[in-house]
Symmetry: C2
Subunit: 124 residues, 2 copies
């Protein structure tokens, strides 16, 4: 069913819950909000908002599904294959299938970004 998740400000949305990843060695300070996910039942894709705390990082991942990333706030460093690049507001990152990738917060405020995945990977 169609839906609008209204932005309440501060990257918080009506009808969207906040999930923190449990502390583990592979990542640090990462939270996720599912903006379009299982609740909406989109057949083909899911849309998440991630935040990484200052000094934090996402796990070093490599998998069959692609990512589409749009940076919304903060200063990040993205590893794509063997190449590291800095990213900030508006930068678009396409992570192709099986490309090793990792996001790090290299700034003083939270690093926030949208991340699209195929729907069939939404539990993966």
């Amino acid at each position: 069913m169609s839906a609008i998740h209204r932005h309440r400000g501060q990257y918080d949305w009506e009808g969207v819950s906040l999930d923190h990843y449990p502390p583990e060695k592979e990542m640090k300070g990462v939270s996720v909000r599912w903006l379009i996910g299982a609740a909406e039942g989109a057949p083909n894709f899911a849309l998440r908002y991630f935040e990484i705390e200052p000094g934090g990082w996402s796990s070093l991942d490599q998998h069959a599904h692609e990512h589409g990333v749009f940076i919304l706030k903060g200063q990040g460093q993205v590893l794509l294959g063997k190449e590291e690049s800095t990213v900030a507001f508006g930068d678009v990152v396409y992570v192709s299938p099986y490309e090793p990738h990792q996001f790090k917060n290299v700034g003083d405020e939270p690093l926030g970004f949208l991340c699209i995945i195929p729907a069939r990977e939404e539990n993966g």
Copy 2:
């Protein structure tokens, strides 16, 4: 292949071209930039940035594929089914399959938003 499209500011990106829709009765003042599309070859989804000029609108559409929309700037009015809602920065709109939908700019600056579609619809 993985790629970064760096934001040059003003919602313009390196390696991304600007396409205007030809003037027609069904829409007014709409342009699109394919941020992740045929050039990147993402298997499952495509990501576009749309702008609608003040006073403009997108066509009234209804189709099998779903949309995921994230408003980036301006003031819009979205029609979902028979319901109209105003939207602004950060609001997320999920348009389910076959839901009639239309976006209008009701503000004084361009209305800019991200729009995700399934990859197999990227030429539709």
